[in-house]
């Protein structure tokens, strides 16, 4: 009887998703509630003091938080521009029969992601050193320019961050697209070729629509990862303090408040604002792309 119940088509999906429900109930509900509660308190060693919306009101007026949000949003938008179309094209190219020794290139492109941010951030910090021995300055010297203080200017600082990000994630995103391409039936292309479709037409009418689920996935995680970037900036400036806060991100600000100043209440408010921003952007995107609709084949 029980076995039959478990094996029924109605019940099976619930069995499949049960681990998530359990994990959510155990490891998410309490911490989330606790965090939301903390955001209304001033957390003190001697006992918490209720401040109502005080933390949020302070946040709304906080000029440094505005800088942090600006940096994070700018960074996120740039990563979307750089880390979705290009890896997709690379993947398509890689998937074609034109490229030789594919395994080697894939392995190399993927290597940066293997390094921890701690070590790669340090390497990039040395590369972007304002001292004459930094690689970027050596390149400038090669073209006859003077050394430049890369990490003291907002634009070049962002450039360094984006370069680090592209360096690390191009290979990974390419990988996502490559595995997405594997789910596309090759016969579709053959059929299209027989119908006389051009290369661009095939990409436009077959590859792109069929890669849509993968694209949505990459888009969604990129939006969050971009908004939540912290460690890259922390390593690039050897700490959370960058000149004029050019490298300060939302999570960096959360860290500054929560850890460096031990204001857990205020930090919780910062984190929840980040959550809300990320949720709004992503749900607009997900609804617009129809991910929540019942899929029709």
């Amino acid at each position: 009887m029980f076995k039959k119940f478990i094996y029924s088509k109605k019940v099976a999906p619930y069995v499949f998703v049960l681990p998530f429900i359990l994990s959510f109930a155990i490891f998410w509900v309490y911490p989330m509630c606790s965090t939301i509660r903390m955001s209304f308190f001033d957390i003190k060693p001697a006992g918490d003091i209720f401040v109502g919306l005080g933390n949020y009101r302070k946040l709304a007026k906080d000029p440094v938080f505005r800088i942090a949000v600006g940096n994070s949003v700018r960074y996120m938008l740039w990563t979307l521009v750089l880390l979705i179309p290009f890896p997709m094209l690379f993947a398509v190219l890689m998937d074609s029969n034109l490229v030789k020794a594919k395994g080697v290139w894939k392995a190399i492109l993927y290597t940066p992601a293997l390094t921890s941010v701690v070590i790669s951030g340090t390497l990039f910090r040395l590369m972007f050193s304002e001292y004459d021995t930094g690689q970027m300055n050596q390149i400038l010297h090669f073209f006859g320019f003077e050394s430049y203080k890369w990490l003291k200017n907002g634009h070049t600082g962002m450039f360094a961050l984006l370069l680090l990000c592209c360096w690390r994630w191009t290979g990974v995103n390419m990988l996502y697209f490559l595995s997405g391409l594997k789910s596309i039936d090759k016969e579709l292309y053959e059929a299209a070729s027989i119908d006389g479709a051009t290369g661009w037409q095939k990409f436009h009418y077959i590859t792109r629509p069929l890669l849509k689920p993968t694209t949505i996935y990459v888009l969604t995680i990129s939006i969050y990862a971009g908004l939540a970037m912290f460690l890259e900036s922390f390593m690039l400036w050897a700490g959370n303090a960058s000149p004029h806060n050019i490298g300060l991100t939302i999570v960096g600000y959360l860290y500054r408040r929560g850890i460096e100043k031990n204001q857990m209440g205020y930090a919780s408010a910062v984190g929840l604002v980040l959550l809300i921003i990320a949720l709004i952007i992503n749900f607009i995107q997900l609804f617009a792309s129809g991910t929540f609709k019942k899929e029709k084949d």
């Binding site: 957390i43 003190k44 060693p45 001697a46 906080d62 000029p63 440094v64 395994g103 040395l126 050193s129 304002e130 001292y131 021995t133 203080k149 003291k152 050897a238 303090a241 960058s242 000149p243 004029h244 806060n245 300060l248 500054r256 850890i259 460096e260 100043k261 031990n262 857990m264």
Partner: protein
Amino acid sequence: MKKKILAMLMAAAMGATLLAGCGSSGSSSSSDSSDTASTDDTSKDQDSGDGSTENADDPVVSTYGDDSGTHLELWTFVDVHGAFYGKMVDKWNEANPDRKISLTATTYPYGDMHDKLLMSLQAGTGAPDICDVEVGQFPNVVAGEDNWLYAEDDAVAPYKNDMVASRLETYQGENGKQYGMPFHVGATVMYYNMKALEDAGITQADVDAVVTWDDYAALGKKYLDAIGNPDGKYFTSVDTGGTDWLWLAMSEYGEDWTGGMGGKANVQLESVKKMLKMQQDWLNSGLAEVSPDGHVDLEAGFQNILDGNIVSFPKAMWYMSRFINYMPEEKGNWYIAKCPVFEAGQKCSVGIGGTGTVVTNQSKDPELAADFVAYAKCSPDGEQMIWDDLGFDVCNTSLWTQDDFAHNTSNQYNTFFRNYPYDVLASIKDDIGKISVTKISPTINEQICTTTLNEVLEDGMDVDEALQEAQDAVDLEQ
């Protein structure tokens, strides 16, 4: 097919690396003391195995002392500190057979150790008995006072008269109780590249004759003129990423931008303005450059010193270990002297940086833990070890003038510089000022280092204007 073989080869390589690991741990028990010595030493590069062995059987879990003793757990963020405590436990057990200790020292990554400590204190469980706390993080930890920590006043009492009072004060709570024990004074002194100066015809007597910042600037001009004012060479470098210069200025005028415990923070101090304006003048006249990487204690800063681009800079005495670790080829070139002042008769130094060692009230035997910490960090036995192993300027003043301590040539710090560091320290004993580290300190620090110093020194902004902006930002937080 080829790929399969490749994958198998790689898997084999992976197994081999693992085996290598196991193999090496198997041979660990028989490994001799010369290997261990290099880890005891602050410098990993040095092959001279002069350190003593520690009696830890398992190097991964560093447990020291007597198993039968009371077990205490210690967290630190510097590996050599852990080894130092280990040695002190043995000494303690010898001296106190009735109160033996077995100590487990765990080294965590720097920032994360402080996160973990704060969380454990907040949770009321999971904290160690003893913990090293970096001075910048200390206000967060000491905020818990008796709720979180155990007061060390009784433990430190036997040594108190000999200790530099301002350093003890740094690690006190708002209630005036002693919650942390210092490693060092961190007295700020002037480091001069005497070899480079001599090449330019400047003698040690010339350096000794420097009393005020005007004298200092004049000496700098003399040096630069002598070498023909080449591009890229400066007398000193000023910091955009550190507040050492400003702390020194405040100490000279007896000011404190935090306003002390319970005071109101004010960054618009006369001393700060004077220092920043003076530095702007130096930058304009080519006497100084802005430190690459923002201060002298990072890779580019070391490079700058090694390349001889700057020949003098003020820094705390713990910077000596940077010479030993990263600039060993500079041995015999550098001379340590007291810092210049704005007006003759002012204090000429300030204590910077440090690690306060706390005992948490979650400890099973806080009294024992506190007594041990006081012994390790304040007693002559402990101070000797701190000076020899860690190279710090110790807080116990009774040792500063003792010949076998301050002039002992088996200590590498005593032989590295042109003069004995402790001779300088003893000569400025009463001139070491103190800037408080309070709840507002991280805010001031962050504002000054991210914004103000960059505006003043990089962008050439008006000092008063920049400080007004900084004050406004600080006022939002108090």
